[in-house]
Symmetry: none
């Protein structure tokens, strides 16, 4: 029995409320000039105060040494094993542009590309056509019905698009048409298992149609597909935890990940203050809130240490809006670390703070990677955060007698 | 290979002795008035001295966030995976009244109840009849033989009893007859798999017989059965660890759990001093001793912070009786936390102390939840306690060459 099955057996609804604040890319590394991480540099009195009252630790989203993408990072924090629940590239690309997928749908990442008169690929990115051109070409391809399968085509940006295949009996276990190099022809898509024959056939017909419709649109005179993946059918958070969860996120990727696990999605604005206001407006109607803050990660990805520090300070300054609601359980963590010095996601464990009346506080008084090393949570798997939040919210029955 | 299989391969007998002192519900939470837990409040110089000499840490009986019952809590401390070895309710109820089960037996929890002239349940507890009446009615039902299956009926208290089914080819995978509500008839017991057909038939016949024998005993004019479960067949501690283990426990539940893993059960008295005396008397004859102290848990369950503190101080005062024996390895831990402020078992990790000549002592000097956070054992699974005790007793061979 895995952990989620166990939780599903003992979860019980209750009126208590859990707020999960995910600060994207929260953890960092020391600035070589000062020896202090972003969190250690920032002036964050409200977070420090929470660390003093709560129980702290560090979480591995996947495993020590493994750098997670946004999807595994979030799935782990939601309690789902990020390895067995890995989400395909096509589905992630669809989620990232707010395309709502239905069970059984298959999504693929698409590129407009350039082929010569022999049909050999000369530019896999079609000279990076404009977003406008991409949208125009997607309209050309959108809405075909092939063999009772509907193919929907959505622009992403430049040469990138998403193709969604809707219909019965689709299995995503097919090869890619993108040869990943120039000077060769696009590959025929083939089924890797008998169940995937149908999709392979439809996808090849779609590409043939695309070739003819794009013929006059040089440099974007052909399309390549890769990353075919099915909408995963994960048990919802309501099924597992018996929660009524709401997601508050400004960026589509995070709304999409929340939708995958059955959260309702709140309409919100474009600022941190908007997100906290949305939380307050919806506070009565739900018992679990996932609130996502993006800009720490963006600053880390840009390698902008000082901006990441500033974003942390902004979050800290806005925090009283959340604390006023006095949730029964407040968790502050990240989906992964994004140290500015690495300009990207990293494998370093992520700070986790949990505050509740029954959390058994530790002696930690600073919200930082180093201080959390001696926290009462110790070093945990990120998948254990939800069971701990549920327990502290008194939403789990005893296991066994 | 799971951990037990590995241990089984490398365990070796030796003359050294291990004492495992389980202080039930050991861990706690701070008293809101003082900010100190029960352990931090109690004056426990002997335990503090052990913490100074030994190696300390915190253990999760099942997993972070999971509150264990007594059975999973103890099985984990004995080294058995508490999820895959989960014990059914009927078996636990039998164990709790010192009924000895044999492999293949099935036990069920029973209620005497009241039914009206239409056979609908009007009181699931038969007005909570006296213990004496319960015993008298159990005699009426005890000892039937149905289809070569013997049915033994034991009083628990008030309306509660245990039914044990003895015979061949019994599979406990059947539904319950208790409808869990009034105004409806008891349910027919049905098999949930073909192997369980035999038990379902016998159980229904037993209930029909019970109905007729109880007809004149209003309000206890019917019986309900639930929690059918088989005697689990766990490898014994002797098979795994090559130990000769003795259990010293005042309450039947804990003797029963020890019996499930093949421990011998000592006759003992009713006080802590009796238990320590029993340990001393039997010290030469065994190499592993499980000594169970109940009253910390009872005080915690009653929400009596001060009484739990006092029990801890009593245990500490009696401890020299144990220390005089100078066991090669002494482990002091609990089966779960029972914080007085929660009036029940909880999910909080449990303090573990291990003392031996070779334990690699840490810097911890107080026996408490907070002090143990920086202990040398770190945060471990409770199933790892036994391998550590075995290693410190020099009872494990090297793994691999």
């Amino acid at each position: 029995m895995d952990n989620l099955e166990l939780i599903r057996e003992i979860a019980r609804p209750s009126p208590t409320k859990i707020v999960l604040l995910v600060i994207d890319g929260l953890g960092g590394l020391p600035n070589p000039e000062t020896g202090k991480t972003e969190l250690e540099t920032a002036s964050i009195p409200n977070l420090d105060n929470l660390a003093t009252k709560g129980i702290c630790g560090l979480a591995d989203p996947v495993a020590p040494g493994i750098t997670p993408g946004s999807a595994p990072g979030h799935l782990a924090v939601f309690g789902y094993d990020p390895v067995s629940c890995n989400i395909g590239r096509g589905v992630l690309e669809a989620i990232g542009i707010d395309v709502e997928l239905q069970p059984g749908n298959v999504a693929a990442r698409g590129n407009f590309c350039t082929v010569d008169e022999k049909g050999l690929v000369t530019d896999r990115r079609a000279g990076r056509i404009s977003n406008e051109k991409c949208a125009e070409l997607c309209e050309l391809l959108d809405g075909m019905t092939i063999d009772d399968i509907q193919v929907l085509v959505y622009p992403v940006r430049e040469h990138r698009f998403v193709a969604v295949f809707r219909g019965k009996d689709l299995d995503a276990n097919v090869t890619e048409s993108d040869p990943q190099q120039t000077g060769v022809a696009p590959l025929a898509i083939t089924a890797l298992s008998p169940e995937a024959d149908r999709l392979a056939g439809v996808a090849n017909q779609f590409i043939a149609q695309a070739k003819s419709r794009l013929a006059e649109h040089h440099p974007a005179n052909m399309a390549l597909l890769r990353g075919f993946s099915g909408q995963p059918s994960l048990p919802t958070m309501n099924e597992i935890y018996r929660l009524k969860p709401l997601a508050i996120a400004i960026y589509p990727m995070y709304r999409g990940l929340a939708r995958l696990v059955g959260m309702e999605i709140a309409q919100t604005g474009t600022t941190l203050e908007d997100e906290f206001a949305t939380l307050e407006q919806n506070y009565a109607g739900y018992d679990f809130f996932f609130l996502h803050v993006k800009w720490t990660d963006s600053a880390g990805e840009d390698g902008d240490f000082d901006r990441k520090v500033k974003v942390l300070e902004q979050i800290d300054a806005a925090l009283p809006n959340l604390l006023r609601l006095d949730p029964d359980v407040l968790v502050v963590t990240g989906d992964h670390s994004t140290p500015a010095v690495l300009k990207g996601h990293s494998w370093h464990p992520v700070p986790v703070l949990l505050c509740s009346e029954y959390c058994r506080p530790d002696a930690v008084q600073d919200f930082s990677e180093t201080a959390f090393l001696s926290g009462g949570l110790g070093r945990i798997q990120a998948t254990q955060i939800m069971p701990l939040a549920m327990a502290n919210a008194m939403k789990l029955n005893k296991f066994g007698a």
